[in-house]
């Protein structure tokens, strides 16, 4: 930094570099356009892994609550976040246009796992907010199978 006034072109150049960096950083976290089957398959696998993470989190929280190891507010918060994550994960994946028929079939397969997972997690969230912790193990019963299927889906399409 010399402190000398910059030539307008140099100033524009620096501004462009700065703006470029901001755009690149912003783009790093965005969902891109999907034009090919492999990219869509990879996104489906990532989605399955993220959904499995939310399901496993809820399962662990319910298990801890049943053993009297988790306080009410923490349980309610953890389940609310897991439910919100599951909903957001499904919405993000469903917003991606499948590039061809095969991808559309894959989307259907994954949605058949995501929809019940999001539904169970929403039920758990509601129950926990009502303080009805006794109902949680029953409501969470489908979670181990869902987690396993999501895991299997991810491994098959990785």
């Amino acid at each position: 930094m010399s402190g000398a006034p910059l030539h307008p072109r140099a100033r524009q150049g620096r501004l462009a570099v700065g703006l470029g960096l901001v755009v690149l950083v912003a783009a790093a976290g965005c969902t891109g356009l999907v034009r090919s089957d492999p990219v869509y398959v990879s996104k489906a696998a990532t989605t399955a892994a993220a959904a499995a993470s939310a399901v496993e989190t809820a399962q662990l929280a319910v298990q801890e609550a049943a053993a009297g190891k988790l306080s009410g507010p923490s349980l309610a918060q953890t389940l609310a976040e897991a439910a919100s994550d599951a909903g957001a994960i499904q919405a993000t994946f469903d917003a991606i246009q499948p590039p061809d028929r095969r991808a559309e079939v894959l989307r259907g397969q994954l949605d058949r796992l995501l929809t019940p997972a999001a539904s169970v997690l929403a039920d758990l969230r509601i129950s926990a907010r009502w303080g009805d912790t006794a109902a949680l193990p029953r409501l969470a019963a489908p979670l181990p199978k869902l987690a396993e299927e999501l895991q299997r889906f991810q491994e098959a399409h990785q």
Binding site: A50, L60, L70
Partner: protein, 410 residues
């Protein structure tokens, strides 16, 4: 006896004050995704911050002036401004993340939406910065932060296979489910979380606030060489407990609540309560440190009166910057930007800016005009130079890795 007590207190607060929201997020996330495959980065990061924090403390104790003050004088206004811009922006971002972290800790304890806590947290941070004496503030949050020891207890009570853990930590490998790009992206994030610029800035300014002199060089060394590695062990414990509980279940943590689950699984409600106290203490301590650091950096660069030793009326611009920074930080969180994502970006961008903070410090610490016979030894220069090379490589690689790994998502 009084000196011994002072040393013990300094070490305890250094341990309790070591972890912040960046460590909470980065250690838990890397443990859950890579097991102990990135534990080596934590060791590298803790050693790095020890070397440079000791240097910053020595500069302040010997010259009676804080690092920014000397950087501007020694390297000129231009380099000083570059140094200031890099660290001020990152520190402000970190302040926002810490305020969000405090609010999230309170949300976990009460189930009340964290956004409702943000203005209250912001106000209290400002009130403490305005009214409470430096030593009282530093000691209180540091000692409260010791509650995080509960995470280390959880590791011990989980009865892990220590041999397998040691093997995993000393033979780092990228898990089959993760890409090499994501591995290196998180390595840089972890390094950024351990060596955040505000830590050195606050440490050197704190030394001036506490009127350290040459006779306090031993206190400086003991704080850094004992307190920091023990504090680093708490960050390692967070990584280990996540590797033990979250990784086998395939949980990729994106919320503070998930960071608390392993401790409550092992130790129950009492463990959870202590972990939440620890989360609250370390984030609120870091919120205070970052808020003051914003004021320190600007005031020291422009040569304004600064510090909590002065009455607010004697350092109005310093106090104004602290207030404005807290307002901006709280405002950023109130935009509903996810505090955990904010933390992830803060630590990664912090890694990108590290050489701009540490190179000027290294130059100042070698200037006999300020340090006399207390300039860096050859050994400390050699180690610091190796670290600087590592930091430059990490800094250059940060943005490309962020883009290519989709911010660690692939």
């Amino acid at each position: 006896m009084r000196k011994l007590l002072e040393i013990a207190l300094g070490i305890l607060t250094a341990i309790g004050g070591f972890v912040d929201i960046g460590d909470l997020v980065a250690s838990t996330e890397t443990g859950a995704r890579f097991g102990l495959g990135l534990a080596w980065v934590l060791v590298v990061g803790v050693l790095g911050i020890m070397i440079y924090a000791e240097m910053a403390g020595r500069v302040a104790s010997t010259s009676g002036r804080a690092v920014f003050d000397l950087v501007r004088e020694r390297l000129g206004a231009g380099v000083g401004l570059l140094n200031l811009a890099a660290s001020f922006f990152i520190t402000l971002l970190t302040l926002a993340a810490e305020i969000g972290g405090v609010a999230l800790s309170l949300q976990l304890a009460t189930s009340v939406n964290y956004l409702l806590f943000v203005p209250i947290v912001g106000f209290l941070v400002w009130l403490v910065c305005w009214r409470v004496r430096f030593e009282v503030m530093d000691n209180a949050v540091g000692l409260l932060g010791l509650a995080l020891i509960v995470v280390a207890v959880a590791v011990w009570r989980a009865h892990p296979d220590w041999g397998a853990m040691w093997h995993s930590a000393t033979h780092p490998a990228v898990p089959a489910t993760e890409s090499h790009l994501a591995y290196w992206y998180f390595a840089i994030a972890l390094l950024g979380s351990a060596m955040t610029p505000y830590e050195v800035l606050f440490f050197s300014s704190g030394a001036v606030e506490q009127r350290w002199t040459r006779s306090d060089l031993l206190v400086n060394r003991l704080n850094v060489y004992i307190g920091f590695p023990l504090g680093g062990l708490l960050a390692l414990a967070l990584m280990v407990v996540a590797a033990l509980v979250l990784e086998p279940r395939g949980i990729d943590p994106s919320h503070l609540s998930q960071a608390a689950l392993p401790t409550s699984l092992v130790l129950g409600k009492l463990g959870l309560a202590l972990a939440l106290v620890g989360f609250f203490a370390c984030t609120s301590g870091a919120a205070l440190e970052t808020a003051l650091s914003c004021g320190y950096s600007l005031a020291q660069y422009f040569g304004w009166p600064w510090g909590k030793l002065l009455k607010p009326a004697q350092a109005p611009r310093f106090q104004l910057v602290v207030l404005a920074s807290i307002t901006l930080g709280a405002g950023l969180v109130l935009t509903t930007l996810d505090p955990i994502q904010l933390t992830e970006y803060a630590i990664v961008l912090s890694a990108a800016a590290l050489p701009l903070t540490y190179l000027p410090l290294l130059i100042v610490a070698n200037d006999p005009a300020y340090l006399g016979d207390k300039v860096n030894s050859r050994l400390s220069n050699a180690i610091a130079s190796v670290y600087l090379v590592v930091l430059v490589v990490a800094s250059v690689a940060t943005i490309p890795l962020m883009i290519l790994s989709k911010a660690g998502g692939s």
